[in-house]
Symmetry: C2
Subunit: 206 residues, 2 copies
Amino acid sequence: MLQELTEAHYSKHDYIFREGDPTEYFHIVKEGTVKCVKSTPEGKECTLKMLMPGDLFCCDAAAFDGASHPGSAQPMGDVSILRMRKKAYFEMLQRNPAAAIEVIKYLGNRLNEAQEKTKDLALDRADQRLASLLVDLATRNGIKDPNGIRLTIRLTRQDMANMVGITTETAIRIMSRFKRDRLVSGTANRLVIRDLPGLKTLASAS
Amino acid sequence: MLQELTEAHYSKHDYIFREGDPTEYFHIVKEGTVKCVKSTPEGKECTLKMLMPGDLFCCDAAAFDGASHPGSAQPMGDVSILRMRKKAYFEMLQRNPAAAIEVIKYLGNRLNEAQEKTKDLALDRADQRLASLLVDLATRNGIKDPNGIRLTIRLTRQDMANMVGITTETAIRIMSRFKRDRLVSGTANRLVIRDLPGLKTLASAS
DNA sequence: CAATAAACATGATCTATGTCATGTTTGTGA
DNA sequence: TCACAAACATGACATAGATCATGTTTATTG
């Protein structure tokens, strides 16, 4: 039944697909992290989501009609993904209502997430959005560390900037302030959240 | 089979539900326009989406688990909606894979829309976002008018501001400029798009 | 291990947009 | 139709964050 599910491997600087490419597959992240990006002709980038193991992508309409990808997908380091041709995928959903409901629940969560992000971009300051991001990462991708919570995902200031809609310089300045205030320490290779409650307060401060 | 689908009516100043309320129903807009809003404790608002006839809401995870509404839903004038208790809704999806796939497609489109909006908020200027909004409304909710395309939906400058993440004053200023430049005319009760191509150019100008 | 490129840092501006204030016009309900 | 409340308008000013520039530190790779 699942022989249509094949595995593919990618590494840094590869593209899983680019914005505008035709959609062929439904994907599941098996290992590693995948970055979903939209960019402008002038080279500005906006990171929509970091997909982690278990995350689905192209599980939606785009995969169904003859549409093309609305953004690109890039691996952050080595990743392996499972994929299925969209025809097989939709046949599977047809035969398997429980799976379809799981996809509905997953998409619903993603939509809520996206709308929460919209609200943050529309109403919060840069430092609040960055604090939110760090809180999120700490809870989802953090492991215990003598000084707090270490992020398992390697993120540069530029990556963070693209995730919260600010420039790299601004991200650096705010991170420097967070460092000075003992909220975080370290840089991309070893970023430690030292004061999670402090960041939470900041994230929701009016 | 569909006797579980009941009709409800609301009008201006009602709430269909508020942020934080427990989810009880799955909804479909039958007539009128419904505004999805998130707001901050300080009273700032962000409009996520205007739902039109045919639009589904609470068709997702939130409706499934015991979760509460992540935003509120307010009618813009008189609306009628069809709704179904979430238990009946999920049973229906279980029995009817074609319906489940429709919901998946619908949610996928909503997610793409939301992500496009994220990109706009992160990378575009206020006037571009407002121009985009007007283009969108003109194509989706416009009817022919001697001077261009008239919007069938009554939107104040404040409504527009909340939809694109700017203040009311900024929306008024930009709309005044658009009026001066003969891109639009009129106000909430009779808003006419006079130069759709002009707005399109503006919307995607670097 | 040297060389080269990323990543991080920080200062000096500049500017889009927010904030506050005040006034006019338009709509609406008693 | 009068009164009251929204909606629209516009100026003055404040400021968060962008932009540009230059330098240091940290990684990466041949």
